[in-house]
Symmetry: C2
Subunit: 73 residues, 2 copies
């Protein structure tokens, strides 16, 4: 597995963990972010290399700083 895949898996896990901590459903977060729910599912599964803007919207709607979202990646 290369660097990129590892990074994708890591951000996916992080989003999922934070979302669940907030007790938010995948579809709810997706809706708030104006992201397709299928897209968010892929992202959480590590199947995509998200853009900064996507990450920002996710952080905003999780009510955390972007720094916190990408911590330890």
């Amino acid at each position: 597995m290369d660097d990129k895949e590892q990074l994708q898996l890591a951000i996916g896990k992080r989003v999922k963990m934070l979302r669940e901590e907030k007790g938010m459903a995948q579809q709810d977060l997706a809706a708030k972010c104006n992201i397709e729910k299928s897209n968010l599912s892929r992202l959480e599964a590590g199947g995509t290399n998200p853009t900064l803007y996507t990450l920002k919207r996710i952080a905003d709607n999780l009510e955390i700083k972007l720094e916190e979202l990408v911590i330890k990646l």
Copy 2:
């Protein structure tokens, strides 16, 4: 100007500032990151919405944490 453009401009400025602090030329950083120098130029100018992997490579080669790269965005 919308959110996305503002974000792009912000990350561009941040990369430029940090790169210059390190006394690194655009082409040097680009080369280290395996990014096209034209691509990095566009990124610093706010003309693109970079992916997480691109940001990670930039942070690594600036020898900073990804959190530090995306601070205050």
